[in-house]
């Protein structure tokens, strides 16, 4: 995602991405990213959790409008439902 964003930034587009892994985003260094600690494949929240999905999308828009510098902003969204993200990050689950 970060590489694609870099190409868009170079083309002059205003962009804001979600980062699910700060370390990888710190290597790729796209202009602006919002860190969301949700599992891969559940980027905006759990199945049927419309409130969280909307809240993450709203946080993206808020960051796009107010983050006037390059870097990564921590959204505060975390995943406490199960250990899926923990296993994914350690390559013990998809």
């Amino acid at each position: 995602m970060g590489l694609i964003q870099r190409a868009f930034d170079e083309a002059g587009l205003c962009t804001l991405s979600i980062s699910q892994n700060m370390e990888i985003t710190a290597v790729i260094m796209p202009s602006r990213a919002l860190y969301v600690a949700h599992p891969f494949g559940l980027t905006f929240g759990a199945i049927g959790d419309s409130a969280t999905q909307r809240a993450v999308l709203a946080a993206m828009l808020e960051a796009a409008a107010t983050m006037n510098h390059r870097g990564i902003r921590d959204s505060g969204f975390e995943w406490a439902q199960d250990d899926l993200r923990y296993r994914q990050l350690r390559k013990q689950g998809r």
């Binding site: 995602m1 190409a7 170079e10 980062s19 370390e23 980027t43 999308l57 993206m60 796009a64």
Partner: protein, 167 residues
């Protein structure tokens, strides 16, 4: 960041996993500076917002992404932003698409984005959604050919803001 995530270098874990299981030449493409920051030129309530995903979404009559390619598939698909989520398919080898297929808003929140436009929180939606398959280990074609073409399309679509969501 959760306490259990501290102290683990997940960039290195991911790199080692891809090298050992999928694509031996893989390494991160490091950069020493951020890409340019282009400010939003209009208020959100007037902005035309575009959405780009790496969920591997595509229409049924479009070819699926190549989930068997060791180096990944850098190609992209586009579809109208009005497309009902039920009509979209997901092809991606990097995450379990069964969860997202049960509620595509978890990776591609078009229902919510369309609602935001109707509620006036954003000005309008750009006419097309652009979709990649997130896992691309050989990044040359992605960086030099595919992503710049999509950038041109987004400019032609009149996008004031591009939101990008990984999976």
């Amino acid at each position: 960041m959760l306490p259990e995530e501290r102290g683990a270098n997940f960039a290195q874990i991911e790199r080692d996993h891809v090298r050992s299981r999928v694509y031996a030449p893989f390494d991160w493409h490091p950069f020493d500076r951020f890409s340019p920051y282009n400010p939003l030129r209009v208020p959100l309530r007037e902005a035309r917002v575009a959405f780009v995903t790496t969920a591997g979404a595509h229409l049924p009559d479009q070819p699926p992404f190549d989930t068997d390619a060791d180096a990944g598939d850098p190609s992209w698909r586009s579809f109208p932003v009005e497309t009902p989520l039920a009509k979209l398919m997901l092809s991606h080898g990097g995450y379990d698409t069964r969860r997202a297929s049960a509620d595509k808003n978890v990776v591609l929140p078009l229902d919510h984005l369309r609602a935001f436009a109707q509620e006036g929180r954003i000005g309008s939606l750009a006419p097309n959604v652009y979709s990649f398959m997130g896992y691309v280990a050989d990044t040359d074609r992605l960086l030099r050919e595919e992503a710049p073409v999509v950038a041109e399309r987004l400019i032609a679509d009149g996008a004031d803001l591009v939101l990008l969501a990984p999976t």
